[in-house]
């Protein structure tokens, strides 16, 4: 039988974050839908114009309707591909830039926290998921700063003296306990 307590912790990430992926999926879907709608509108308009015109022209040198609209269809399909791909690419680059900016601010904030600055806001920006994440980091830093300040004021109060040895010893032990709660 496998003992799960002996298994090393696996650094696996199994979760999907709908708040991050959801808007991106919706944006890609909108691009494809709008591209399809524009293509349909343009090609339908062209078909309404081209086939009656070909009918009254009289010289039928083609075998199928495809021969009439081959170039037209090729250009419109190429336009659809380029339109959807380029707009999608811009969206990809915007998502990557937003991620670099938002997470970059979070990384900077954690690095300055390691140097003792726990009060400067992370400032991840207004984009929903990154803003929320930045606030979580700020909340964790703020909690740490509150704990440190509380311990520091208690240490100052104890160092000032003026209390019985029993009370001093009791508060000394409590202070040790409080210090142990930092970064458990």
């Amino acid at each position: 039988m496998r003992n799960s307590a002996l298994q090393p912790p696996r650094p696996s990430v199994r979760y999907v974050n709908p708040r991050f992926q959801g808007p991106a999926v919706l944006a890609f879907t909108a691009i494809i839908a709008i591209g399809g709608a524009i293509f349909w509108k343009l090609v339908d308009g062209e078909f309404q114009r081209v086939f009656p015109k070909a009918a009254i022209r009289g010289h039928y040198t083609f075998n199928s309707a495809y021969d009439i609209v081959r170039d037209l269809l090729s250009w419109h399909l190429a336009g659809l591909f380029l339109g959807v791909f380029l707009t999608g690419s811009i969206l990809v680059l915007v998502i990557i830039a937003a991620t670099r900016h938002g997470i970059g601010k979070a990384v900077d904030s954690l690095r300055t926290s390691a140097d003792g600055d726990l009060s400067t806001p992370t400032g991840t920006g207004p984009i929903g998921e990154f803003d929320r994440f930045g606030k979580k980091i700020d909340a964790a830093r703020s909690d740490t700063l509150t704990s440190v300040r509380k311990i520091r004021s208690e240490a100052d109060a104890l160092a000032a003296g003026g209390m019985s040895p029993e009370e001093f010893r009791l508060r000394w032990d409590e202070l040790k306990q409080q210090i142990r709660t930092i970064a458990p």
């Binding site: 974050n17 999926v25 086939f51 970059g104 954690l110 994440f133 160092a159 970064a183």
Partner: protein, 185 residues
């Protein structure tokens, strides 16, 4: 040390990841447009009737006949492209969303006072410097905590001597700890 510096200098989002995403988007879009082309080709490539009048009537009536076919083919394209692009988007962005979600949970656990383990993401996940920066912060806090506790323990050793020495050493240790904590602001 060099490993730590490499982790610090690592890009948040690798260029390879961005190019991979763009390439897959290109293949997806091309696939969708290809399917649309095949549907329209099958609808349009049927041979026209052989005689002059037949061709004339067929072409005159072709536009209204093609309208629903065009609508359905565009709808099929949109559904297939949306489905595959959504799946691609979820799969690829998971390399960012997964670590982000994991970090959020770790931050929640940290605030709840649960023991925080060293954070590591999967090797192909993006935003790796985030885990490294978090580990650096927690590591610095733990080092300080150990130092403060060691200072207190050192002061307690003097309690084996007389009461006055013990008290003065403890007060000195507390002043040292308070001074040390002043770097946090």
């Amino acid at each position: 040390m060099s490993g730590s510096r490499a982790a610090d200098d690592a890009p948040l989002v690798q260029d390879r990841y961005t190019f991979g995403l763009l390439l897959r988007l290109c293949v997806n879009t091309a696939g969708g447009v290809g399917i649309l082309f095949v549907i329209l080709y099958l609808a349009l490539s049927r041979s026209l009737p052989g005689d002059y009048a037949g061709v004339y009537h067929a072409l005159r009536n072709l536009s209204p006949f093609l309208r629903p076919i065009l609508a359905v083919s565009v709808l099929v394209y949109a559904l297939l492209a949306c489905g595959s692009t959504s799946a691609l988007c979820i799969y690829i962005l998971h390399k960012v969303a997964g670590p982000l979600y994991r970090m959020e949970r770790i931050l929640d656990q940290y605030r709840a006072g649960v023991h925080t383990r060293t954070v590591s993401f999967r090797h192909d996940d993006q935003i790796q410097p985030l885990a490294h920066a978090f580990n650096q912060w927690i590591g610095a806090l733990r080092r300080d905590r150990q130092r403060w506790l060691a200072t207190m323990k050192d002061a307690e050793r003097h309690c084996l001597q007389d009461e006055a020495t013990c008290r003065s050493e403890m007060e000195a240790a507390l002043r040292k700890i308070a001074g040390d904590m002043a770097r946090y602001h």
